[in-house]
């Protein structure tokens, strides 16, 4: 059995008195590459865009490289990653091919290479994923609430079951009330028969008017407002994708802020994909999770339960608005409603990777977090941009005065130092997630172990931001991996799940149209999955 898998990441220790800047290091690498690959016909260097073009078997793959320093450990890392233009969609095969080519390029570069700079010589060494440094989630437990009895199966047991989607569907409650709206299919009920029959097996498809079960989009809001009993109700919107975007963004925020679960389904999914058991499972699991009758839960491994939950803080990238979000999610299963809050009265500056809140806003944010959590508790915090240390310390101190104790703060990034690895394309056990701990503070973990999209190719970057005197350990990576895989309601893409749920929720909010509101907007967490 192969124990080591090469990656497209190299690392060097900085032993020189002076330390080059990132920009200098990047230039030095490029200059050296021009020498290293001078005679190599497979490799072409695009000087203008600083891209490497790797030619092999008639296929060209563009590769870009990034340089990052780890100052606390005096190290520099270089990573190579395939370049994809935003407009182009890559198939699974194209992704796989790109990974192979990047790794081949690294093979050409060798396991070690030297970069000569006026400050000194830097010896870079290639990093390998070692299977002994990995987290195996095979025996993590899935809890099924929807059947006659609460059942438990390990991840391995579930995925080894013949027809596991069928098993999952037997564990779904049958008590939802579905209200269907569509402009395209208002009078074409027959065309939607497959989805209506499917939904009917999990509850009741309710009438919108005396003889209609599909209502037009423009009555949906009024209908919701007049609906007397909203218990176990969900509003389903079915539309063509091209007619979808605008109403979707407007309606979604209305329903979410009014605590009405809603699900938008592209008609193409119904006509072309509804026969796939994975698609059916995804749809129904998401709907019931939004209703608050979560059919499946991924129980956290016991050794990570040293905190009651996770607080995630993130700025929001919504046009013309400077918004900041906070959400809190419990680590143990419970009946407590989890909430996401969006604030428009915090003042902060954002650069690409960092955020800087004004002093007064730190106090305000602490008060808001205090109200959001509402009890004495021990928590971990996840930040999506690097904070100024003193500001973060101030926030932690104020929260501590209110009996909200911060155990650890993690900075998580999907874009930092992206690299590929052979593990992803080697037909390995999908439950095994290799990781790298590069320093006391910094590590990477491969959260997605299967390829579907381009975004699945990289690992995620984790930095232990606080406390200063503690080291990043495997338990920290376990916590992050659990937050990724707890999105089990996306069962069809379970092995491609990459992003921790709280971070994903902020990404979903970024897609919504948020109108003006006073100070704080509160939305139930479950509606934003």
């Amino acid at each position: 059995m192969i124990e080591e898998y090469p990656t497209s990441m190299y690392i060097t220790k900085l032993s020189t008195l002076k330390i080059p800047t990132r920009k200098d290091m990047k230039q030095a690498i490029w200059d050296n590459f021009e020498e290293i690959f001078y005679d190599n016909k497979k490799i072409e260097l695009d000087n203008e865009y600083k891209k490497i073009i790797y030619k092999d078997e008639g296929q060209n793959v563009e590769i870009y490289y990034k340089v990052r320093d780890i100052p606390e450990n005096s190290r520099y890392i270089i990573t190579f990653f395939p370049y994809k233009s935003k407009r182009k969609q890559w198939t699974k095969e194209m992704c796989r091919n790109a990974v192979e080519k990047v790794l081949k390029f690294c093979d050409e570069l060798g396991d070690t290479f030297k970069i000569e700079h006026e400050i000194g010589i830097f010896n870079y060494e290639r990093i390998y994923f070692n299977i002994s440094s990995s987290i195996d989630i095979s025996d993590w437990n899935l809890i099924f609430y929807g059947g006659d009895v609460v059942e438990k199966l390990s991840i391995q047991e579930l995925f080894e079951k013949d027809g596991y989607y069928g098993y999952i569907l037997t564990k779904i409650p049958k008590n939802a009330k579905f209200y269907i709206f569509s402009n395209t299919y208002e009078d074409k009920e027959r065309e939607l028969r497959s989805i209506l029959n499917f939904l009917q097996s999990f509850g009741e498809v309710c009438k919108i008017s005396e003889n209609k079960i599909i209502g037009p989009l423009n009555i949906a809001k009024d209908f919701a407002e007049k609906l007397h009993n909203r218990d176990k109700c969900v509003f389903i919107f079915i539309e063509k994708k091209e007619r979808f975007d605008e109403p979707y963004k407007n309606l979604k925020i209305y329903y979410d802020t009014n605590n009405i679960p809603s699900q938008f389904i592209n008609d193409n999914t119904i006509f072309e994909k509804l026969n796939y058991p994975g698609v059916r499972s995804n749809i129904i699991l998401e709907i019931f999770t939004k209703i608050g009758l979560k059919p499946i839960d991924l129980r956290p491994p016991e050794d990570i339960l040293d905190v009651n939950g996770f607080l995630c803080l993130s700025d929001l990238e919504i046009t013309n608005k400077k918004l900041f979000g906070a959400l809190f999610t419990y680590s143990r299963e419970g009946t407590e409603e989890e909430e996401v809050q969006i604030y428009n009265d915090l003042k902060f500056e954002v650069t690409k990777d960092t955020i800087d809140l004004e002093d007064e806003s730190i106090n305000l944010l602490a008060n808001k977090i205090n109200l959001l959590i509402g009890r004495s508790i021990n928590i971990d915090v996840i930040i999506t941009k690097e904070w100024k240390y003193d500001k973060l310390k101030k926030l932690i101190d104020i929260l501590k005065q209110n009996d909200i104790k911060i155990n650890r703060v993690y900075y998580i990034s999907m874009k930092t130092s992206r690299f590929v690895d052979k593990y992803l394309i080697s037909g390995h056990n999908l439950n095994v997630h290799p990781y790298l701990i590069l320093s006391n503070k910094v590590g990477f973990i491969r959260t997605s172990t299967n390829i579907r999209f381009y975004s699945d190719l990289s690992s995620i970057y984790i930095k232990l931001f606080w406390p200063k005197n503690e080291k990043l350990i495997v338990k920290d990576l376990n916590k992050i991996l659990w937050l990724v895989k707890k999105r089990i309601y996306r069962i069809q893409e379970f092995y491609q799940l990459k992003i921790p749920e709280p971070v994903k929720i902020f990404r979903n909010i970024n897609k919504m149209y948020i109108k003006d509101f006073e100070s704080t907007l509160t939305i139930p967490y479950r509606l934003l999955i």
């Binding site: 006659d148 009895v149 609460v150 016991e302 407590e336 009890r375 004495s376 009996d403």
Partner: protein, 374 residues
């Protein structure tokens, strides 16, 4: 009596727990479940090797772990650690007055009830300060928690019970909070022994037991039971042991029946008889249940006969009977009879009494069958 329904269920659960214990202790289950399973085995005298040590953060697991028979640790320290946590939660709620703080406190108290019973039964320590006024005020509107705390106060703190005790028995039997059921089964059993409301509390005990058993019996064969269900089964098994069900397990069948008759009686028949009598009798003497109308009539008969014997003049009062009226038709006698008036009246009253007693019996039978319309 259906043997399986009345005796079998608790034993099935205890046997299930005994058989499942080795798998739980060695298998991939959470630490709390492993510890509670090991405690159950220790209580029934079967110590098992258990390598798991409780996390110091989990006060309940720490308590469970140290309640085992072979534990050398004095749990005083744990009890005070527990009480500190409780105080902290109460303070937190009082300061914030928020829903999450209330939920956290409520959950803590609900969990505590079971551990309070265990520490009280298995050691000399009591976990929950049941008389804590602040706590009682916070949960004034939580009816179920109030009922449990009240009932614990009656049987553990010797609080005087009043007429309200009967209401507590009814509330216990109607309990819906799943997390309180095991504790309520135990409390109702103990109160049946301790108070004069034996039948009321036994009724609650059996009703709750039946409710739990009905649910669990259907699912114990499922190989994929979640830790939460297994924890419930282990808790129930401990409670059943504390109620003495294990003792009957070792006895022959006839002895089991004797045991049940002697120790816990058969509540359903008593309950139904009492209910039927209550409904049909207007007045109940403490010792002899009797209808007030029948008592009055009997009293009149006695007076009339007494007067007839004591006062000779009354013996001269006679009535001449020429015919006997039955409904609207009169049947003439062959010759008129001079009968003494008072004995005649007494005899008529006696006939009415016999009719009334017959009706009473009929009504009670109807009640048993399930209502007068049957």
């Amino acid at each position: 009596m259906d043997e399986k329904e009345e005796i079998g269920y608790p034993h099935e659960i205890i046997l299930f727990s005994i058989n499942k214990a080795p798998e739980i202790i060695k298998g991939k289950y959470n630490n709390r479940l492993k510890i509670i399973t090991s405690l159950f085995m220790s209580i029934i005298g079967k110590n098992v090797n258990q390598e798991i040590e409780p996390s110091e953060e989990d006060i309940f697991s720490m308590i469970l772990y140290n309640l085992k028979k072979d534990s050398k640790v004095n749990i005083t320290e744990l009890v005070s650690k527990y009480q500190n946590q409780l105080e902290k939660k109460i303070r937190d709620f009082n300061r914030r007055q928020s829903e999450p703080a209330y939920s956290a406190l409520e959950k803590f108290i609900v969990d505590s009830i079971f551990y309070h019973i265990l520490t009280s039964e298995l050691s000399e320590y009591k976990l929950l300060p049941l008389n804590n006024e602040v706590l009682l005020t916070i949960f004034t509107n939580n009816e179920e928690l109030n009922t449990i705390i009240d009932s614990l106060l009656i049987f553990m703190e010797n609080k005087k019970y009043t007429k309200k005790t009967e209401d507590i028995a009814i509330s216990l039997s109607n309990l819906t909070n799943e997390k309180l059921i095991e504790s309520a089964i135990f409390i109702s059993y103990r109160l049946a022994i301790k108070t004069s409301y034996k039948k009321e509390f036994l009724y609650s005990h059996y009703r709750l037991l039946r409710k739990s058993m009905d649910k669990l019996y259907k699912i114990i064969k499922n190989p994929n039971l979640d830790d939460s269900i297994l924890e419930k089964i282990m808790k129930l098994s401990i409670i059943l042991y504390l109620c003495g069900y294990d003792k009957s397990l070792r006895l022959p069948h006839e002895e089991k029946l004797n045991y049940i008759d002697k120790v816990i009686s058969i509540p359903t028949i008593i309950q139904k008889t009492e209910k039927a009598l209550d409904k049909n009798l207007k007045f109940r003497h403490k010792l002899i249940p009797i209808d007030i109308n029948i008592s009055i009539l009997l009293f009149i008969v006695l007076i009339l006969n007494g007067l007839y014997i004591v006062i000779p003049q009354l013996q001269n009062l006679k009535i001449t009977i020429k015919d006997i009226p039955i409904k609207s038709v009169s049947f003439p006698l062959p010759f008129p009879i001079d009968a003494p008036l008072l004995p005649i009246i007494s005899t008529l009253i006696l006939i009415i009494i016999i009719k009334k007693i017959y009706n009473l019996k009929e009504n009670i039978i109807k009640e048993f069958k399930g209502g007068k319309n049957d």
